[in-house]
Protein backbone atom coordinates (compact mmCIF):
# COMPACT_ATOMS: atom_id res chain seq x y z
CA UNK A 1 0.00 0.00 0.00
CA UNK A 2 2.74 2.40 1.04
CA UNK A 3 4.74 1.62 -2.06
CA UNK A 4 1.80 2.43 -4.35
CA UNK A 5 1.41 5.86 -2.72
CA UNK A 6 5.11 6.50 -3.21
CA UNK A 7 4.82 5.62 -6.89
CA UNK A 8 1.91 8.00 -7.34
CA UNK A 9 3.87 10.72 -5.60
CA UNK A 10 6.72 10.25 -8.02
CA UNK A 11 4.59 10.41 -11.14
CA UNK A 12 2.76 13.47 -9.82
CA UNK A 13 6.12 15.16 -9.39
CA UNK A 14 7.09 14.30 -12.91
CA UNK A 15 3.81 15.64 -14.27
CA UNK A 16 4.27 18.91 -12.40
CA UNK A 17 7.75 19.34 -13.79
CA UNK A 18 6.65 18.73 -17.35
CA UNK A 19 3.83 21.23 -16.84
CA UNK A 20 6.27 23.90 -15.80
CA UNK A 21 8.30 23.12 -18.87
CA UNK A 22 5.19 23.65 -20.98
CA UNK A 23 4.45 26.92 -19.22
CA UNK A 24 8.01 27.98 -19.86
CA UNK A 25 7.80 27.37 -23.59
CA UNK A 26 4.38 29.05 -23.70
CA UNK A 27 5.96 32.16 -22.19
CA UNK A 28 8.63 32.03 -24.87
CA UNK A 29 6.00 31.96 -27.57
CA UNK A 30 4.35 35.07 -26.07
CA UNK A 31 7.61 36.93 -26.40
CA UNK A 32 7.87 35.70 -29.95
CA UNK A 33 5.47 38.36 -31.14
CA UNK A 34 8.17 40.98 -30.70
CA UNK A 35 10.85 39.15 -32.58
CA UNK A 36 10.68 36.87 -35.60
CA UNK A 37 13.71 34.91 -34.48
CA UNK A 38 12.26 33.81 -31.16
CA UNK A 39 9.98 31.01 -32.42
CA UNK A 40 13.04 29.33 -33.83
CA UNK A 41 14.91 29.98 -30.64
CA UNK A 42 12.00 28.75 -28.52
CA UNK A 43 12.02 25.48 -30.38
CA UNK A 44 15.60 24.90 -29.35
CA UNK A 45 15.34 26.44 -25.89
CA UNK A 46 16.02 24.33 -22.87
CA UNK A 47 14.50 25.10 -19.49
CA UNK A 48 16.90 27.40 -17.80
CA UNK A 49 17.84 25.57 -14.65
CA UNK A 50 20.26 28.31 -13.74
CA UNK A 51 23.28 26.08 -14.22
CA UNK A 52 26.14 27.67 -16.19
CA UNK A 53 25.68 25.24 -19.05
CA UNK A 54 22.00 26.10 -19.37
CA UNK A 55 22.78 29.80 -19.35
CA UNK A 56 25.34 29.32 -22.06
CA UNK A 57 23.02 27.41 -24.33
CA UNK A 58 19.68 29.09 -23.81
CA UNK A 59 19.04 32.22 -25.88
CA UNK A 60 19.47 35.26 -23.72
CA UNK A 61 16.15 37.03 -24.25
CA UNK A 62 14.28 34.00 -23.05
CA UNK A 63 16.19 33.94 -19.83
CA UNK A 64 16.37 37.72 -19.51
CA UNK A 65 13.36 38.09 -17.24
CA UNK A 66 14.52 35.14 -15.19
CA UNK A 67 18.04 36.49 -15.04
CA UNK A 68 16.76 39.53 -13.20
CA UNK A 69 16.38 37.25 -10.22
CA UNK A 70 19.80 35.66 -10.64
CA UNK A 71 23.09 37.53 -10.43
CA UNK A 72 23.62 37.24 -14.19
CA UNK A 73 24.61 40.15 -16.36
CA UNK A 74 27.04 39.26 -19.13
CA UNK A 75 27.93 35.60 -18.80
CA UNK A 76 31.55 35.54 -17.66
CA UNK A 77 32.70 32.78 -20.03
CA UNK A 78 33.59 33.55 -23.62
CA UNK A 79 30.32 33.53 -25.41
CA UNK A 80 29.20 30.30 -26.96
CA UNK A 81 25.70 31.69 -27.25
CA UNK A 82 24.83 32.26 -30.87
CA UNK A 83 23.78 35.87 -30.68
CA UNK A 84 22.01 35.57 -33.96
CA UNK A 85 19.35 33.74 -31.96
CA UNK A 86 18.74 36.75 -29.76
CA UNK A 87 17.59 38.90 -32.61
CA UNK A 88 18.43 39.27 -36.27
CA UNK A 89 21.08 41.84 -37.02
CA UNK A 90 18.87 44.18 -39.00
CA UNK A 91 16.36 44.29 -36.19
CA UNK A 92 19.13 45.07 -33.74
CA UNK A 93 20.36 47.91 -35.93
CA UNK A 94 16.85 49.27 -36.23
CA UNK A 95 16.25 49.27 -32.47
CA UNK A 96 19.70 50.51 -31.54
CA UNK A 97 19.84 53.19 -34.18
CA UNK A 98 16.42 54.39 -33.11
CA UNK A 99 17.43 54.92 -29.51
CA UNK A 100 20.80 56.42 -30.33
CA UNK A 101 19.38 58.89 -32.84
CA UNK A 102 16.63 59.76 -30.43
CA UNK A 103 19.14 60.45 -27.66
CA UNK A 104 21.28 62.43 -30.07
CA UNK A 105 18.42 64.74 -30.96
CA UNK A 106 17.33 65.28 -27.38
CA UNK A 107 20.86 65.83 -26.12
CA UNK A 108 21.50 68.37 -28.86
CA UNK A 109 18.41 70.30 -27.79
CA UNK A 110 19.48 70.03 -24.18
CA UNK A 111 22.92 71.37 -25.07
CA UNK A 112 21.37 74.32 -26.86
CA UNK A 113 19.12 75.06 -23.92
CA UNK A 114 21.67 74.95 -21.12
CA UNK A 115 24.49 76.74 -22.89
CA UNK A 116 27.20 74.92 -20.97
CA UNK A 117 30.87 75.57 -21.49
CA UNK A 118 32.63 72.67 -23.17
CA UNK A 119 29.37 70.94 -24.11
CA UNK A 120 29.90 69.11 -27.36
CA UNK A 121 27.98 66.33 -28.97
CA UNK A 122 29.29 64.36 -31.88
CA UNK A 123 27.92 61.46 -33.87
CA UNK A 124 30.36 59.83 -36.24
CA UNK A 125 30.91 56.23 -37.42
CA UNK A 126 27.81 55.30 -35.42
CA UNK A 127 29.47 56.36 -32.18
CA UNK A 128 27.82 59.03 -30.07
CA UNK A 129 30.28 61.11 -28.07
CA UNK A 130 29.04 63.62 -25.54
CA UNK A 131 31.66 65.88 -24.05
CA UNK A 132 30.74 67.80 -20.94
CA UNK A 133 33.84 69.91 -20.62
CA UNK A 134 35.78 69.07 -17.50
CA UNK A 135 32.95 66.95 -16.17
CA UNK A 136 33.85 64.10 -18.47
CA UNK A 137 32.87 62.37 -21.68
CA UNK A 138 30.14 59.88 -22.51
CA UNK A 139 30.59 57.41 -25.34
CA UNK A 140 27.65 55.39 -26.63
CA UNK A 141 28.03 52.80 -29.36
CA UNK A 142 26.56 49.65 -30.78
CA UNK A 143 28.25 46.33 -30.07
CA UNK A 144 26.60 44.41 -32.86
CA UNK A 145 27.99 40.88 -32.30
CA UNK A 146 26.56 40.93 -28.77
CA UNK A 147 23.38 42.76 -29.79
CA UNK A 148 24.24 45.30 -27.10
CA UNK A 149 24.62 49.03 -26.71
CA UNK A 150 27.78 49.94 -24.85
CA UNK A 151 28.06 53.03 -22.73
CA UNK A 152 31.10 54.59 -21.17
CA UNK A 153 30.19 57.07 -18.45
CA UNK A 154 32.43 59.38 -16.45
CA UNK A 155 30.13 58.70 -13.51
CA UNK A 156 29.34 55.00 -13.63
CA UNK A 157 32.08 53.72 -15.91
CA UNK A 158 31.39 51.09 -18.58
CA UNK A 159 28.02 49.38 -18.95
CA UNK A 160 26.44 47.12 -21.53
CA UNK A 161 22.76 47.27 -22.32
CA UNK A 162 20.66 44.46 -23.72
CA UNK A 163 17.29 44.87 -25.33
CA UNK A 164 14.57 43.69 -23.04
CA UNK A 165 11.75 42.61 -25.30
CA UNK A 166 9.32 42.33 -22.40
CA UNK A 167 9.53 46.01 -21.50
CA UNK A 168 10.90 47.47 -24.76
CA UNK A 169 13.86 49.11 -23.11
CA UNK A 170 17.62 48.70 -22.96
CA UNK A 171 18.72 47.21 -19.64
CA UNK A 172 22.13 46.65 -18.03
CA UNK A 173 21.52 43.24 -16.55
CA UNK A 174 24.11 43.47 -13.80
CA UNK A 175 22.42 46.41 -12.14
CA UNK A 176 18.99 46.43 -13.74
CA UNK A 177 19.69 49.96 -14.91
CA UNK A 178 17.64 51.40 -17.74
CA UNK A 179 19.78 53.19 -20.33
CA UNK A 180 17.61 56.24 -20.79
CA UNK A 181 16.90 56.69 -17.09
CA UNK A 182 20.58 56.29 -16.22
CA UNK A 183 21.58 58.98 -18.69
CA UNK A 184 18.82 61.30 -17.52
CA UNK A 185 19.89 60.95 -13.91
CA UNK A 186 23.62 61.28 -14.45
CA UNK A 187 23.58 64.06 -17.01
CA UNK A 188 20.97 65.99 -15.09
CA UNK A 189 23.07 65.81 -11.95
CA UNK A 190 26.35 66.56 -13.71
CA UNK A 191 25.05 69.58 -15.57
CA UNK A 192 22.82 70.79 -12.79
CA UNK A 193 19.76 70.96 -15.00
CA UNK A 194 17.26 68.12 -15.45
CA UNK A 195 17.10 66.55 -18.88
CA UNK A 196 14.22 64.70 -20.50
CA UNK A 197 15.44 61.84 -22.67
CA UNK A 198 12.52 59.46 -22.81
Amino acid sequence: MASRKLLLGLTAGRRLRSRTRQLFSAANLLEATTSPSLPAAAATAQPSGGSPAALLFSPRTISSTRQAAQSAGDAPGPSTVDHKLIMPEDEFHKLADEIIHDLLGKLEEYGDSIQMDGFDIDYGNQVLTLRLGDLGTYVLNKQTPNRQIWLSSPVSGPSRFDWDAATNVWIYRRTGANLVQLLEKEIGELCGTPVELS
Binding site: P76, G77, P78, Q143, W150
Partner: protein, 162 residues
Protein backbone atom coordinates in the same frame (compact mmCIF):
# COMPACT_ATOMS: atom_id res chain seq x y z
CA UNK B 1 65.03 36.72 -26.15
CA UNK B 2 63.51 34.41 -28.69
CA UNK B 3 60.58 33.70 -26.39
CA UNK B 4 59.91 37.39 -25.91
CA UNK B 5 59.84 37.98 -29.65
CA UNK B 6 57.41 35.12 -30.07
CA UNK B 7 55.33 36.50 -27.26
CA UNK B 8 55.31 39.94 -28.79
CA UNK B 9 54.40 38.60 -32.20
CA UNK B 10 51.61 36.49 -30.71
CA UNK B 11 50.23 39.52 -28.97
CA UNK B 12 50.69 41.59 -32.08
CA UNK B 13 48.92 38.95 -34.15
CA UNK B 14 46.30 38.63 -31.47
CA UNK B 15 45.70 42.34 -31.61
CA UNK B 16 44.45 41.77 -35.14
CA UNK B 17 47.63 42.94 -36.76
CA UNK B 18 47.06 46.49 -35.63
CA UNK B 19 49.92 48.87 -36.11
CA UNK B 20 52.07 49.36 -33.05
CA UNK B 21 50.61 52.16 -30.94
CA UNK B 22 53.94 53.95 -30.96
CA UNK B 23 53.31 54.79 -34.61
CA UNK B 24 50.24 56.90 -33.78
CA UNK B 25 50.60 60.00 -35.96
CA UNK B 26 49.59 62.68 -33.46
CA UNK B 27 51.06 62.35 -29.99
CA UNK B 28 48.01 63.92 -28.37
CA UNK B 29 45.78 60.93 -29.16
CA UNK B 30 48.42 58.32 -28.46
CA UNK B 31 48.26 55.57 -25.88
CA UNK B 32 49.40 56.42 -22.40
CA UNK B 33 53.01 55.37 -21.83
CA UNK B 34 51.92 52.74 -19.31
CA UNK B 35 49.74 51.10 -21.93
CA UNK B 36 52.61 51.12 -24.41
CA UNK B 37 54.87 49.66 -21.72
CA UNK B 38 52.49 46.80 -20.98
CA UNK B 39 51.99 46.21 -24.67
CA UNK B 40 55.73 46.04 -25.39
CA UNK B 41 56.70 44.34 -22.14
CA UNK B 42 53.65 42.42 -21.04
CA UNK B 43 54.00 40.86 -17.65
CA UNK B 44 53.17 37.23 -16.99
CA UNK B 45 52.18 36.07 -20.45
CA UNK B 46 51.65 32.35 -20.49
CA UNK B 47 49.56 29.43 -19.38
CA UNK B 48 49.17 27.23 -16.37
CA UNK B 49 47.79 23.73 -16.60
CA UNK B 50 44.12 24.39 -16.15
CA UNK B 51 43.58 20.97 -14.61
CA UNK B 52 46.01 21.77 -11.83
CA UNK B 53 43.91 21.92 -8.64
CA UNK B 54 45.76 25.04 -7.47
CA UNK B 55 44.94 26.95 -10.63
CA UNK B 56 41.88 29.07 -11.28
CA UNK B 57 41.16 30.02 -14.87
CA UNK B 58 39.05 33.00 -15.86
CA UNK B 59 38.06 33.21 -19.49
CA UNK B 60 35.99 36.22 -20.50
CA UNK B 61 34.91 38.05 -23.57
CA UNK B 62 33.93 36.97 -27.04
CA UNK B 63 35.99 36.66 -30.22
CA UNK B 64 33.18 38.30 -32.17
CA UNK B 65 33.67 41.40 -30.05
CA UNK B 66 37.37 41.36 -30.67
CA UNK B 67 38.19 40.86 -27.01
CA UNK B 68 39.03 37.66 -25.18
CA UNK B 69 41.00 37.51 -21.95
CA UNK B 70 42.28 34.48 -20.14
CA UNK B 71 43.66 35.09 -16.68
CA UNK B 72 44.98 32.25 -14.55
CA UNK B 73 45.90 32.36 -10.90
CA UNK B 74 47.92 29.88 -8.91
CA UNK B 75 46.72 29.83 -5.32
CA UNK B 76 48.57 28.54 -2.31
CA UNK B 77 46.03 26.30 -0.67
CA UNK B 78 47.24 26.87 2.86
CA UNK B 79 47.25 30.64 2.88
CA UNK B 80 44.65 31.34 0.20
CA UNK B 81 47.16 33.68 -1.37
CA UNK B 82 47.72 34.06 -5.10
CA UNK B 83 51.33 33.07 -5.65
CA UNK B 84 51.52 33.41 -9.41
CA UNK B 85 49.47 34.51 -12.39
CA UNK B 86 49.46 34.19 -16.15
CA UNK B 87 47.40 35.83 -18.83
CA UNK B 88 46.72 35.69 -22.54
CA UNK B 89 44.64 38.27 -24.30
CA UNK B 90 43.25 38.71 -27.77
CA UNK B 91 42.37 42.34 -28.19
CA UNK B 92 43.45 45.93 -28.45
CA UNK B 93 46.45 47.50 -26.71
CA UNK B 94 44.26 48.69 -23.86
CA UNK B 95 42.83 45.22 -23.35
CA UNK B 96 46.29 43.66 -23.30
CA UNK B 97 47.54 46.31 -20.89
CA UNK B 98 44.50 45.93 -18.63
CA UNK B 99 44.93 42.20 -18.32
CA UNK B 100 48.69 42.55 -17.89
CA UNK B 101 48.09 44.97 -15.03
CA UNK B 102 45.52 42.60 -13.56
CA UNK B 103 48.01 39.73 -13.70
CA UNK B 104 50.51 41.86 -11.78
CA UNK B 105 48.10 43.14 -9.18
CA UNK B 106 46.74 39.75 -8.16
CA UNK B 107 50.13 38.38 -7.24
CA UNK B 108 50.78 38.04 -3.54
CA UNK B 109 47.24 38.96 -2.59
CA UNK B 110 44.46 37.08 -0.89
CA UNK B 111 41.50 36.02 -2.98
CA UNK B 112 39.15 38.31 -1.07
CA UNK B 113 41.46 41.19 -1.97
CA UNK B 114 41.68 40.44 -5.67
CA UNK B 115 37.94 40.25 -6.18
CA UNK B 116 37.86 43.77 -4.80
CA UNK B 117 40.07 45.06 -7.62
CA UNK B 118 37.91 47.51 -9.54
CA UNK B 119 37.95 48.27 -13.22
CA UNK B 120 38.12 51.96 -12.30
CA UNK B 121 41.48 51.43 -10.61
CA UNK B 122 42.91 49.68 -13.64
CA UNK B 123 41.52 52.35 -15.96
CA UNK B 124 42.99 55.11 -13.83
CA UNK B 125 46.37 53.42 -13.65
CA UNK B 126 46.50 53.23 -17.43
CA UNK B 127 44.78 56.55 -18.08
CA UNK B 128 42.35 54.75 -20.36
CA UNK B 129 40.16 57.00 -22.50
CA UNK B 130 36.36 56.67 -22.15
CA UNK B 131 36.01 54.37 -25.12
CA UNK B 132 38.47 51.88 -23.57
CA UNK B 133 36.89 51.62 -20.14
CA UNK B 134 35.25 48.42 -21.31
CA UNK B 135 38.67 46.79 -21.48
CA UNK B 136 39.32 47.43 -17.80
CA UNK B 137 35.89 46.05 -16.98
CA UNK B 138 36.76 42.88 -18.82
CA UNK B 139 39.98 42.57 -16.80
CA UNK B 140 38.01 42.91 -13.57
CA UNK B 141 35.65 40.22 -14.83
CA UNK B 142 38.58 37.97 -15.68
CA UNK B 143 39.90 38.19 -12.13
CA UNK B 144 36.50 37.34 -10.69
CA UNK B 145 36.06 34.48 -13.13
CA UNK B 146 39.44 33.02 -12.16
CA UNK B 147 38.55 33.12 -8.48
CA UNK B 148 35.14 31.61 -9.18
CA UNK B 149 36.73 28.81 -11.16
CA UNK B 150 39.26 28.06 -8.42
CA UNK B 151 36.56 27.94 -5.77
CA UNK B 152 34.29 25.77 -7.89
CA UNK B 153 37.18 23.37 -8.38
CA UNK B 154 37.79 23.16 -4.65
CA UNK B 155 34.15 22.37 -4.04
CA UNK B 156 34.22 19.67 -6.69
CA UNK B 157 37.40 18.15 -5.28
CA UNK B 158 36.01 18.23 -1.78
CA UNK B 159 32.87 16.45 -2.97
CA UNK B 160 34.94 13.83 -4.75
CA UNK B 161 36.75 13.11 -1.52
CA UNK B 162 33.55 12.54 0.40
Amino acid sequence: MMLRVVGKRLLGAAAGGQASPALAPAARRGYHERVVDHYNNPRNVGTFDKDDPDVGTGLVGAPACGDVMKLQIRVDEGSGRVVDARFKTFGCGSAIASSSVASEWVKGKQMEEIVAIKNTEIAKHLSLPPVKLHCSMLAEDAIKAAVKDYEAKKVKLAKADE
